[in-house]
């Protein structure tokens, strides 16, 4: 059997850890509930809990046995503990109550909250369903793709305005024309 595990190494694994950090079902429920408050669904956009942001985030949390040397600097154990602290009470709370909890977390533990928020943002906007929503709902994003490669955007890229370029004026100082200039008064010795 081929072992696809990315071993503990001296470089951060591109794309995240495989196998990823393990969260229990209740911990995943908490994370989904947090994500749904950070980026509420609606206006044609799905809620984070509906697009598996958890599956993205757990690849970047350092799994058991790995140091949290790289962003987001969270170990599986620490992350799980944080989610357990919120627990089922958070999941079953009303949206308004959850928001109050998150406001408190942002105030009292800004570093952890910032990483949590940023990971949810990175995860949500990487999901194909969200990219499709951007394509559908935003004129500016109608051409946006899931990743830069392999397609790029040459097929939908505007070129220069030649009329504008025909009007450009400019000049430069030739070598032989460089002369001593008076220093600004405030820079004189």
């Amino acid at each position: 059997m081929i072992d696809v595990t990315i071993r503990s190494g001296s470089k951060p694994p591109l794309g995240g850890w495989l196998p990823p950090a393990a969260l229990s079902a209740p911990q995943a429920d908490v994370l989904n509930a947090i994500a749904d408050e950070l980026i509420p669904g609606g206006e044609g956009f799905p809620p984070p809990s509906g697009v598996n942001v958890v599956g993205f985030i757990v690849r970047y949390v350092a799994p058991s046995g790995q140091e949290a040397k790289w962003y987001p600097f969270l170990t599986e154990a620490e992350f799980a503990r944080r989610l357990d602290e919120l627990g089922s009470a958070f999941v079953s709370a009303s949206s308004a109550e959850r928001v109050q909890v998150l406001i408190g977390l942002e105030r009292d533990d800004a570093e952890f909250f910032g990483r949590l928020r940023d990971m949810v943002y990175y995860a949500y906007y990487s999901r194909p369903e969200v990219v499709a929503a951007i394509n559908r709902n935003l004129e500016a994003g109608r051409d946006y793709r899931n990743s830069p490669q392999p397609y790029g955007y040459t097929d939908v890229m505007d070129d220069w305005d030649d009329d504008l370029l025909s009007r450009v004026k400019g000049t430069y100082t030739r070598t032989e024309d460089v002369v001593r200039l008076p220093l600004p008064e405030n820079l004189r010795p």
Partner: protein
């Protein structure tokens, strides 16, 4: 040393300067060995096809070695976060390929004002121009000729990268004001060349280029250099440059995979390890006869560090600009305020360089300036108004070469081979602070002329987090006019050791107000041509000649 080999020229560093040097020398039949502490980068090591591509900028594709912590990296201490990569290609593996040239006035700043440590270059734009042209052809520059704000440049390998809606928008702004602007030259293929694919406008240049459209030297210079027979040794970390009787004799390096030490003996040594690695290695090579480090009898090694002065200005407009498309950092530039005007209260000038943004996550997370989308009820409205409505204006100023901005050795911290790391100290000069403040106002004028602007944000003076970002590291072993004002003569020969050359951005005398790689590579190509033609003279010299006495080409 028991394990040793011999060569004509030993090049240290396989990045921008070292690759250009190795290829040019080997074109002429010179036997070259190159030592590189990193390894080859595989195209699949770029993040462009992963769903976490935007996040990877904070991990595997951070520009700062202290964040990546790769084993081939060496950390830095001090107050700056320099952009450095180690590998075949060096920091060109990570650069965006913006490809402006210095202007003629940039070589005469000592004449123009001479403020702080500013001196004239020992060469002129006209001296360097033929080598700019050679280098442009090697890398396959994308260019639109006809810029009236610069001396004429030859046709590119391909046309300029297309500007997209961002280019049209900001072009209209500069046009409205009657200011100079022009599509950026880029070291990015817009036409296939030598198994390198043309750019497909994917928009993520600062993660390197898996298509090999960006001219990192692993794909531009190295295939030809290897075909010429250059002996490129990877994972080879140089520990010290050796000398005997006033001349360099080679270098001792550590194989990072085995820990074994080997020596390469050479008739000429060329150091091209970047503006932090080069002074570090010279200082670590202190030995009998060179108690303060090699080539450092005047104490100038490591000094006059330049980063450019910066402010990043994010502007959001009321129409779609689709900034996720096209070359990321250099769409177009304005050099309306490039030259010194003392009435402004500062010397030197700046470029306004227009760039783009990345993807949706980057937009939600503050683009370039920390303007983060709020969480909760306001998130959707903010995101929908800001995403892909954005243009970035870099205010890129020429910073003064200041002696106290410098690289030294920090003996308290070592790399993975146990070698002490460089300490980097940089403070922005008051002149440069004023320059950037004034430039920020001009950037805003341009954006508002393009308008309507719906939101804006700035990193503030000096880039994110205070000191400039350190993307462009220059000047720590500068070429100059006398043994008292510089580390090398006009042919890149160190004043103290005639067969020791320095050909990376550390040799740049001043930094201009544009990206430096095209200039440092032109300088390296010029030095290579000199070594090739004057090999016999150089190998018989016991003293580095003055600029006036040195034999010409």
């Amino acid at each position: 040393m028991a394990t040793h080999s011999e060569t004509d020229v030993l090049v240290i560093g396989a990045g921008a300067g070292g690759a250009a040097m190795s290829k040019r020398l080997s074109d002429g039949g010179v036997k070259v060995t190159c030592l590189e502490q990193g390894d080859w980068l595989h195209p699949m090591n770029h993040p462009h096809m992963y769903d976490g591509w935007e996040l990877e900028r904070l991990r595997t594709w951070s520009w700062h070695p202290n964040v990546r912590m790769f084993p081939e990296d060496y950390p830095t201490t001090g107050n700056a976060a320099p952009m450095m990569m180690n590998g075949v290609g060096g920091s060109t593996l990570h650069y965006a390929g913006a490809w402006p040239r210095f202007k003629p006035v940039d070589f005469r700043k000592g004449t123009e004002h001479g403020l702080e440590g500013t001196i004239d270059w020992p060469i002129s734009y006209e001296d360097l121009e033929p080598f700019y042209a050679i280098n442009d052809a090697e890398i396959g520059v994308a260019r639109r000729v006809g810029d009236p704000g610069n001396p004429p440049r030859p046709e590119g390998w391909g046309p300029a990268s297309r500007g997209g809606k961002v280019g049209r928008k900001m072009g209209r702004g500069f046009d409205e004001l009657g200011w100079h602007w022009w599509p950026a030259d880029n070291a990015i293929l817009t036409r296939e060349k030598n198994n390198r694919m043309a750019c497909n406008d994917c928009g993520f240049c600062l993660g390197g280029c898996p298509r090999h459209a960006i001219a990192s030297t692993d794909v531009s210079y190295w295939p030809k250099a290897l075909a010429n027979g250059v002996d490129l040794r990877v994972n080879a970390r140089v520990e010290t440059i050796t000398t005997a009787n006033g001349r360099a004799t080679g270098a001792v390096y550590i194989d990072r995979t085995t820990g074994a030490r080997s020596e390469v003996r050479a008739k000429i040594v060329v150091l091209a390890a970047n503006s932090i690695g080069t002074p570090r290695l010279l200082l670590l090579s202190a030995q009998k006869g060179y108690p303060d480090g090699l080539a450092n009898s005047n104490g100038l090694v490591g000094t006059h560090l330049m980063f450019h002065s910066w402010s990043f200005e994010d502007y959001w407009f009321d129409e779609p600009l689709e900034g996720f498309k096209g070359p990321e950092p250099a769409v177009l530039y304005s050099q309306e305020f490039y030259d010194t005007d003392p009435s402004r209260g500062f010397v030197n000038g700046f470029s306004l360089q227009v760039g783009t943004a990345l993807g949706a996550a980057n937009s939600a997370l503050g683009t370039n300036t920390g303007k983060i989308a709020p969480w909760g009820a306001g998130h959707r409205e903010f995101f929908n108004k800001h995403f892909a409505h954005h243009a970035l204006v870099y205010v890129q100023g020429e910073d003064l070469p200041v002696r106290t901005n410098r690289v030294t050795i920090d003996p308290a911290v070592v790399d993975s081979s146990g070698l002490p790391v460089p300490h980097v100290h940089y403070d922005l000069h008051e002149n440069d602070r004023r320059l950037i403040t004034w430039g920020q106002e001009r950037a805003r004028e341009a954006a508002e002329a393009a308008g309507p602007v719906i939101d804006m944000a700035t990193t503030g003076i000096g880039g994110v987090g205070g000191p400039p970002p350190g993307w462009h590291i220059m000047g720590t072993c500068r070429m100059g006019n006398t043994p008292e004002d510089s580390v090398t003569n006009k042919w890149n020969q160190t004043w103290d050791v005639p067969n020791l050359f320095i050909t990376d951005a550390s040799s740049l005398t001043t930094g201009a107000a544009v990206n430096p790689t095209s200039t440092l590579q032109a300088v390296s190509v010029r030095a290579a041509e000199y070594i090739k033609r004057r090999f016999a003279d150089i190998t018989s010299q016991t003293k580095t000649p003055s600029n006036a006495d040195a034999p010409d080409f």
